[in-house]
């Protein structure tokens, strides 16, 4: 299993993604404003939701399943 995918599926990886997502949303809405800000906020929602609901959108690129529990189980 790819170490990047393994980290992303771990508890630390999930928290990292959630925090990064919140930071991006805050950056987009509070700092950037405008269309650019909205785009950054929407992009931020991806890691946020993926971290919260335990799936990894990049995992299939490394030949791993998207589901966090399946990655942790090494399936």
């Amino acid at each position: 299993m790819n170490p990047f995918v393994k980290f992303m599926a771990s508890a630390a990886g999930r928290i990292t993604r959630v925090v990064a997502g919140i930071v991006l949303v805050a950056l987009g809405l509070l700092v950037m404003h405008g269309v650019g800000g909205i785009i950054v906020a929407i992009v931020g929602l991806v890691p946020l939701l993926a971290g919260l609901f335990d799936f990894c959108v990049f995992a299939p690129l490394f030949g791993a399943p998207m589901s966090g529990p399946k990655i942790r189980a090494g399936k």
Binding site: V18, A26, L30, A41, G51
Partner: protein, 183 residues
């Protein structure tokens, strides 16, 4: 039936018991009925399923500290090992039967506590950000999303959600009857 009689009956019963406290007017009781009946059949000969009409045994309910129905209590060797109040999924009810059989506490089929806090925190953060950015347009959507995320932290504890999801599951799993192949 008094609590004493009930406990005596439980202790003298050779098999572990799951007691279903229900009432005819109780909609969630009716919703879980097919699942409970199926589990009763599945565990027949290993776990007994008793049904107690809550309207007919108010004293017993009071003495067992049952404050809502449906309540299912798993007893092993006359001792309570697990209970569940409200409509629940087949997996949760199955875990209750299993705990009556083994005498162990039922396995939890819910979210981890850390997951709940993570979702609550993230939801709150989104609502906070939406408020800070002025609550208009995209921010309102973000606040709504934050609310939904917060709900996902506790959805499995919400009796209305449990009722609705059970009903929907029942509706979609119902096999079509009387279909004709002619044509």
């Amino acid at each position: 039936m008094s609590e004493k009689d009930f406990v005596e009956r439980l202790r003298s019963n050779p098999l572990p018991v799951v007691v279903d406290f229900w009432a005819p007017w109780c909609i969630p009781c009716r919703a879980i009925q097919p699942v409970v009946g199926k589990l009763g059949e599945e565990y027949a000969g290993r776990v007994d399923l008793w049904k107690v009409n809550a309207d007919e045994q108010p004293d017993l309910l009071r003495s067992l500290h049952i404050y809502g129905i449906p309540t299912l209590i798993a007893f092993h060797g006359g001792e309570e090992v697990g209970r569940r109040t409200g409509a629940a999924s087949a997996a949760t009810l199955g875990a209750l039967f299993e705990s009556a059989l083994t005498g162990n506490k039922p396995e939890r089929n819910g979210l981890e506590l850390a997951d709940r806090f993570l979702r609550l925190g993230a939801g709150l953060a989104l609502v906070g950000l939406a408020i800070l950015s002025g609550l208009s347009g995209v921010s309102l959507l973000l606040a709504g999303l934050g609310g939904v995320i917060m709900f996902t932290a506790v959805y499995d504890r919400c009796p209305i959600y449990r009722m609705v999801s059970l009903r929907l599951k029942e509706l979609f799993q119902r096999k079509p009857t009387g279909s004709s192949d002619g044509g």
